[in-house]
């Protein structure tokens, strides 16, 4: 018995091929459209889930109840919010660059959607898969910073400008250590292809394979990744007590909704990349010993997408916990943390990992 979604997908594929006969281009076209719809749908649904989750978790930490009016336990609250945001007026400003002003939310959304497409949700559940998958994700996710900078600049507002400048400094800095810590794991896996990386964690996750360097890289990745989502103690670009709402102060209605959506999905994406690189992606948890084979088989019964989503949500919960516990950093502390602590450590850590990989290779020979 197998609950893998990949079976469903291959069934759809086969029946489409049967239906269209020779016209394989039509099959591809229909499949592209189907995949796009599926991803967009998943994107929105995940955002709604995450929004509700964050509000409920944050309420718990603060001894509150959280949303509880719409639907049972407030389950329909994000849907109500969505409709509210869709129905709201989009306010246009007088003296600003309208083109850039309305491009910015799309850029942000494009950056986050592009990365989202490259996530591997389960066995065979891959939207974009090619040999430099990790590289692609790192590259496309930095599109967001352009969107933020544009939003801040084109809003014609001093607060948004400060927020955007902070954000530029922050995102560019933290991409470095996030990138290096991922590269450390690429070193261990020996491939830039995500499928290969995940396949390599079949028996034991990289977090365990890589010993201490992997754990250090994981922690650094969590911090840097958290900073890249502009949340928690790193929410300087928004800094609601300082800059009102930072770079998206002047946005309203669905344009604001795009920022909102992207912020929550970025949380998921960062956790997703972390899961794929450190926690074995959709691979089940295995104990690499003879005596544990029964346990391993039991783990295999859980479908792969459940593993992925479960791990991602664990990381998301961790990030929420951090977010609702700590005060915000100041811009100089933020840069200090990156350039004087995280980056040197991650560079040294990469060397350590290289040594570890060389050691394993020597042993295997």
């Amino acid at each position: 018995m197998d609950f893998e979604l990949v079976n469903l997908i291959s069934w759809i594929d086969e029946s489409l091929r049967d239906l269209c006969g020779d016209a394989s281009w039509a099959v591809s076209l229909i499949e592209y459209v189907l995949i796009a719809i599926a991803f967009l749908g998943l994107y929105c649904v995940l955002a709604l889930i995450l929004i509700l989750l964050e509000r409920k978790i944050c309420a718990d930490f603060q001894c509150r109840i959280g949303p509880n009016r719409v639907g049972p336990w407030g389950l329909c609250q994000p849907i109500a919010d969505m409709f509210k945001i869709l129905l709201k007026e989009i306010i246009t400003l007088k003296n600003n660059d309208k083109f850039l002003f309305f491009t910015a939310p799309f850029l942000i959304l494009a950056g986050s959607l592009g990365t989202f497409g490259a996530l591997q949700f389960g066995k065979g559940l891959v939207g974009v898969d090619f040999n430099v998958g990790i590289f692609y994700m790192l590259a496309i996710s930095s599109l967001g910073v352009i969107g933020i900078l544009l939003a801040g600049w084109s809003s014609d507002n001093k607060y948004t400008l400060i927020g955007a400048m902070r954000s530029g400094a922050q995102l560019i800095s933290y991409e470095i250590s996030a990138g290096i810590s991922i590269l450390t794991m690429v070193l261990l896996g020996g491939s830039l292809n995500l499928t290969d990386l995940i396949e390599g964690q079949k028996d034991s996750w990289y977090l365990f394979q890589g010993h201490i360097p992997a754990i250090i890289a994981f922690i650094i990745y969590l911090i840097a990744g958290h900073a890249e989502t502009n949340r928690g103690p790193f929410d300087l670009p928004e800094a609601e007590s300082e800059l009102c709402a930072g770079y998206h102060t002047e946005y309203s209605g669905i344009t604001f909704g795009f920022f909102y959506l992207a912020e929550y999905l970025n949380m998921f994406i960062i956790a997703g990349i972390g899961t794929m690189v450190f926690l074995g992606g959709w691979q089940p948890f295995h104990i690499n010993y003879e005596w544990a084979s029964g346990f391993n088989e039991l783990m295999d019964y859980i479908p792969s997408y459940c593993w992925f989503v479960g791990k991602v949500f664990m990381l998301v919960l961790l990030s929420l916990w951090v977010r609702w516990s700590f005060p915000r950093l100041r811009i100089d502390q933020l840069l200090h943390l990156e350039w004087k602590i995280l980056m040197p450590i991650s560079l040294v850590n990469m060397l350590l990992m290289a040594g570890w990989v060389a050691y394993i290779a020597a042993q295997n020979n």
């Binding site: 609601e240 009102c244 700590f326 005060p327 100041r330 502390q333």
Partner: protein, 541 residues
């Protein structure tokens, strides 16, 4: 004090002692500057308050002075000018920095211009306001022609002043506060962390603050003017609308001032109850101050925790007084009602609970390395500067200034309890932060001692049906949660005061923003603002 009188008389032959409750000396307008300079040199370095009074045939300026080393001393210096059309008095703002804003207030309300004060803008009212509303001859019928249009920014920055030129003639000057190419950010009046409707115009250099220009008056209600037409019991409720976070303490000040003037002896039980409720109010205020500061620094969870625990105090208030924020509890001669039977138990349960919670606060926020790093070595205020600005209360004590009115001039039951005046030497933001949490513990100590000794008896003294304060001038200081709060009453024996003025500790706190924040970052400005813990309605009155 006789020595001081002799000293003043040696400088000014016309100076004479005025019969009043506090030691009062009247000097001629022309001698004021000399006397002030000498007094400053003699150690009278703390200008508590500056009040102007319109006596119809002359305008009086009253200076309340004290020594930072010996806060118990209180010297009232008075001067007056007969020129009602164009009153001019020499400034003292170069001697006592705090005088700057007070003199602007006096100009705003009475039209007194202070010679050599570099900033003679209106403080609370709009630049295009006509007339001086606290003058007795001010026509306060509603003006229908009054424009409600937005005045231009230029008039906010245009700073008039008057000086004497070398011919001895008065010269009027206008300067612009900011250069044309400065990057000025309007911080408020609508902003999440101005703790009210404060408007700061900040000149920024990147993220660094270059200059701060505070604007007040967005919540000015003319409370002092309203009080001039109210009877004493009626005006009590307005005191709680000044600094709404420690309303009871303000009300206590006014009640005590009237009681002192009328020689009413408050029953011991009422005094104890008042002290307990003052301290509860102080705890509530400090908790909220702590919570808001955490919120300013981005820790929203701490904010909620602070409010959660403050809620318990609000419940105590509500049970005994019937109100939560505006408790309306103290009346002239005592308190309005006796304690509710449950209150003592509630307070006794609350004390250990809060002690436990404060430990949590320390682990959650004080121990947090991010918060510590942000607060240490940031927003330094030296003791000298604190005294010069008149920044008393927790902010002054964080700089090492022994300025707790509860200690230096004990009132109510403070003389009978053991508690420590929390003093820090650093003057940094973290000292101002810590001092609030430590003061909560001291307040708990005070309550603990009083709640067991609560005497039986009346809770209210017999007070005449119509409260008439005998003619004279009275000043009463109390320590409210933000510092040295004072009430000045000038009475002519009527049932409403001739002039009433409140000394707001928040105003001096805001005036300290510019010197403290110069060179810090925008994020620090918010944090320092949170650590100074000002409440805007107290400034605007």
């Amino acid at each position: 004090m006789e020595k001081t009188l002799k000293l003043i008389q040696s400088l000014s032959s016309t100076a004479e002692k005025v019969e009043a409750m506090d030691f009062t000396v009247a000097v001629a307008k022309d001698d004021l500057r000399k006397v002030a300079e000498k007094l400053k040199a003699e150690g009278w370095d703390y200008l508590i308050n500056l009040t102007a009074v319109d006596n119809q045939e002359n305008i009086e300026v009253v200076y309340h002075l004290s020594k930072s080393s010996d806060m118990e001393k209180l010297l009232v210096l008075k001067t007056k000018t007969e020129d009602m059309q164009n009153p001019i008095v020499e400034t003292v703002c170069d001697l006592w920095e705090s005088a700057g804003l007070y003199e602007r207030e006096a100009y705003d309300f009475f039209g007194i211009r202070f010679l050599n004060n570099p900033d003679m803008r209106r403080l609370f009212l709009r630049p295009d306001w006509v007339g001086y509303p606290f003058r007795k001859d001010y026509d306060n019928t509603p003006n229908e022609k009054f424009s409600t249009s937005v005045h231009d920014v230029a008039s906010m920055e245009n700073v008039p002043s008057i000086t004497l030129n070398h011919h001895g003639e008065i010269e009027e000057k206008n300067v612009n506060l900011f250069d044309n190419d400065e990057y000025i950010v309007n911080f408020g009046p609508q902003h999440p962390s101005t703790h009210g409707v404060l408007h700061l115009r900040i000149s920024l250099d990147g993220e660094n603050v270059k200059k701060i220009d505070p604007h007040f008056g967005y919540i000015h209600r003319g409370i002092e003017k309203m009080m001039e037409s109210m009877t004493y019991p009626q005006m009590l409720f307005l005191t709680e609308r000044l600094d709404y976070l420690c309303g009871s303490i303000n009300r206590h000040a006014l009640c005590m001032c009237v009681e002192k003037a009328m020689n009413i002896e408050v029953p011991k039980r009422a005094v104890y109850i008042r002290t307990i409720f003052d301290e509860l109010n102080r705890i509530a205020s400090h908790l909220l101050g702590w919570a808001c500061m955490c919120n300013d620094m981005g820790s929203i969870t701490s904010f909620i925790y602070g409010f959660r625990d403050r809620e318990k105090i609000m419940d105590i208030f509500q049970e005994t007084c019937g109100g939560r924020l505006m408790v309306n509890y103290y009346v002239i001669g005592g308190v309005a009602q006796d304690l509710h039977p449950n209150t003592v138990n509630r307070i006794k349960e609350f004390i250990p609970y809060l002690r436990e919670m404060i430990k949590e606060y320390h682990t959650l926020f004080t121990g947090n390395p991010i918060a510590r790093d942000r607060m240490t070595n940031c927003g330094f205020l030296s003791k000298e500067k604190a005294v010069a600005l008149g920044m008393s209360g927790p902010n002054g004590r964080a700089s090492g200034w022994h300025c707790d009115v509860r200690k230096v001039a004990p009132y109510a039951a403070y003389g009978e309890v053991n508690f420590d005046e929390v003093l820090h030497k650093g003057g940094d933001t973290i000292d101002r932060y810590m001092i609030r949490l430590e003061e909560i513990e001291q307040s708990l100590r005070i309550i603990e001692q009083l709640i067991d000794k609560l005497p039986d008896g009346d809770f209210k003294a017999k007070v005449p049906a119509i409260v008439k304060v005998p003619a004279g001038e009275y000043y009463q200081r109390v320590e409210n949660a933000r510092g040295d709060f004072g009430v000045y009453i000038k009475s002519t024996g009527e049932k409403s005061p001739y002039r009433i003025k409140f000394r707001s500790p928040s105003m001096v706190a805001v005036s300290g923003l510019d010197p403290i924040c110069k060179g810090t970052k925008v994020a620090d400005l918010i944090m320092i603002g949170g650590s100074l813990d000002y409440v805007i309605p107290c400034i605007d009155r």
